[in-house]
């Protein structure tokens, strides 16, 4: 199976206020089409790992390979391009840009990539919104949406460039039960119907139980893996 994401012996420290090892030799790889969840107690280093894997954090030891290419010592601009092209990120807080409409929010990474014309990007964004059942919100201002709707828009945005992998850091952490289930169903659907590769941090055992593979972390180490 083709490996999309590989972490090789990732070590990360925080120096403030004292030197703390938050990631202590993390090794794993994710194959194309995998739907993986990471679970673990609060403070065990899940978010820190996600930031390293997503190329936003460059202050670590070890190696991150995306689609076989090492991210070590790459320029900021190159990493930005990788994020744009290959990674879709969904955060706990939806982080939509309030200055824009829903549609425009979804389009932005696509326009940045500039692989398709603006018209095509718009059509694709609309299509993604439709798939997620929020097509009718397209022209609304992003600030006017409910939390669950915002998170679905954020997922549509993560999908716009057909990324190699979608990463989520507790994407349902801020949602009520009903919306959490809705969002989870979307992830499930993406995995089953589109064979989308996904790596999702969660503290919700129900959520994790429904993924193909569970990685359990403790004190910056992987302690257990379940399929």
């Amino acid at each position: 199976m083709e490996t999309i994401l590989e972490a090789v012996n990732i070590v990360k420290y925080f120096y403030d206020p004292v030197k703390v090892k938050v990631l202590d030799g993390v090794n794993f790889s994710i194959a194309k089409g995998d739907f993986v969840s990471i679970v673990g107690k609060s403070g065990c280093g899940k978010s820190s790992l996600m930031y390293v894997l997503s190329t936003m954090d460059t202050d670590y030891e070890g190696e991150v390979k995306i689609d076989g290419v090492s991210m070590q010592r790459k320029k900021e601009k190159y990493l930005a391009k990788i994020r744009n092209e290959k990674i879709g990120f969904v955060f706990q807080f939806h982080y939509l840009l309030n200055e824009f409409t829903v549609l425009r929010n979804v389009m932005l990474p696509g326009l940045k990539l500039n692989r398709y014309s603006e018209k095509e990007v718009e059509a694709r964004a609309y299509e993604k919104l439709q798939t997620l059942g929020i097509g009718e919100l397209a022209l609304k201002n992003a600030a006017r949406l409910s939390g669950g709707e915002k998170q679905r828009v954020a997922i549509a945005r993560a999908l716009i460039n057909d990324p190699d992998i979608i990463m989520g850091d507790e994407p349902t952490g801020n949602l009520d039960k009903k919306n959490s289930e809705l969002v989870f169903d979307i992830f499930k659907q993406l995995s089953q119907q589109l064979n989308q590769t996904m790596l999702i941090v969660t503290h919700d055992p129900d959520f994790a139980a429904k993924t193909n593979r569970i990685i359990r972390m403790e004190d910056g180490k992987i302690v257990d893996e379940q399929r």
Binding site: S47, Y51, E76
Partner: protein, 419 residues
């Protein structure tokens, strides 16, 4: 990625905060408006004041100065050839003020490509008789057409018209102050006595007012022919040739050349009026200093608004970086915002500056010193507008640079974690 996208994002960020950006832009507008109006007004005043001197001063004046002969008899005596003579009580004398060959000289000068025009003159010292009183005065014999073209003679005529000097025989235009002393109205006849005692009757055809009252108390103008008649000289008698050049800066060099070629004294305007440029320079300097200070203040306004905007838009910046916009993209976006403010503020500033200049230009301004000036002077030099918009763009760029750099350096992880 197309640059259009960054412009688009910049525009959206601007519109989302249009009130603050408008205030920042108004700061620039104010700065540019004042800059334009101040410079146009100061420059207009400069031109006016310089005009007082430059309009009426020839670039080069050819004349014969009164001085002792260069070659005294003793220097020509062969026996003293190797000696150095010391002559006491040397007197000026016998130097004729008339310029020899004035006709051919004038012709040659008029053909010179560097010369704009030539105005021959003579002056006659006379007494104006007013009852029992004799007022000391000067009659300038002028070539009216040349005087009009080169020295804006008509600008200073406040009554009558200058062409009457040519058409009405024995006519004179009096300085306004002189006419008042003589109680001479236009159409009256005044009587003069020359230095040789001859008495003439001259008809007053107009007044002129130069702006310098002392000058107007003693000066008057007549045609060259009339003046020659008063002096009892032939029609070849010319004492001064006043020259205007195309380029005033060539005056010192050309004065030397003309002096040598024609064997006369030649004085250039720079030597004659060395101080007037200093005044203009200082006035310009002050206007620029004030204008640029205003722009710098406006620049701080932009710096503030951008800093505030970046502080408010931390999340937006972080998420854009997470989505794949590079630090440079973010920097460009904020620079575009800054320059957008500069362009908008500067553009409206140019219009408002022009408007204010027009308003100033219509404010009545009467002064006895400047008869032709009815309103405050404005110099509508396009250069001020070019400098104004350039400065507004430069200051906004500089004001935007630091905040934009700060924005580009924002670490998305820190922001996203902070939630």
């Amino acid at each position: 990625m197309k640059p259009k996208l960054l412009f688009n994002i910049a525009q959206s960020l601007l519109m989302a905060r249009w009130r603050q950006t408008l205030i920042a832009a108004v700061g620039v507008t104010f700065g540019i408006t004042m800059f334009i109006a101040l410079l146009s007004f100061m420059s207009g005043l400069n031109d006016l004041l310089d005009g007082l001197v430059v309009n009426r001063t020839p670039h080069i004046r050819l004349y014969n100065d009164i001085r002792p002969r260069q070659h005294q008899a003793v220097t020509k005596w062969p026996a003293y050839k190797n000696d150095y003579p010391i002559i006491s009580s040397l007197k000026s004398g016998n130097v004729r003020q008339e310029i020899y060959n004035s006709g051919p000289i004038i012709q040659a000068l008029e053909q010179n490509k560097q010369v704009l025009g030539v105005a021959p003159t003579i002056t006659a010292q006379v007494f104006f008789n007013d009852g029992t009183v004799a007022i000391n005065g000067v009659i300038n014999g002028i070539d009216v057409a040349a005087e009009r073209k080169l020295f804006f003679f008509d600008d200073y005529i406040v009554a009558g018209k200058s062409s009457d000097l040519n058409t009405i025989p024995n006519s004179i235009i009096l300085g306004k102050a002189l006419a008042e002393k003589l109680v001479a109205n236009v159409g009256d006849v005044v009587q003069i006595t020359t230095s040789t005692g001859t008495i003439f009757q001259l008809k007053v055809v107009g007044y002129f007012q130069s702006g310098l009252n002392d000058f107007d108390k003693a000066q008057s103008y007549a045609s060259i022919q009339t003046t020659q008649k008063i002096l009892g000289k032939s029609s070849l008698y010319i004492t001064d040739i006043r020259i205007k050049l195309h380029n005033i800066n060539e005056a010192p060099a050309l004065a030397k050349t003309f002096g040598r070629i024609y064997g006369v004294d030649a004085e250039d305007i720079q030597t004659a009026n060395s101080q007037f440029e200093t005044g203009s320079f200082v006035r310009s300097l002050i206007s620029y200093a004030v204008g640029i200070t205003l722009l710098i203040v406006a620049g701080f306004g932009i710096y503030n608004i951008l800093n505030m905007m970046i502080y408010e838009k931390m999340d937006t910046i972080a998420i854009m970086k997470a989505m794949g916009f590079s630090g440079r993209d973010v920097k460009t976006i904020f620079l575009v915002i800054a320059i957008g403010i500069g362009l908008f503020g500067g553009g409206t500033g140019l219009l408002a500056g022009y408007g204010l200049s027009v308003v100033i230009n219509h404010i009545p301004f009467h002064t006895a010193a400047l008869p032709t000036v009815k309103t405050y002077p404005i110099n509508y030099n396009p250069l001020f507008y070019i400098i104004g918009i350039s400065f507004s763009l430069i200051t906004t760029y500089l004001a935007g640079w630091l905040p934009a750099r700060k924005a580009s350096k924002i670490d998305p992880v820190v922001i996203i974690r902070g939630k």
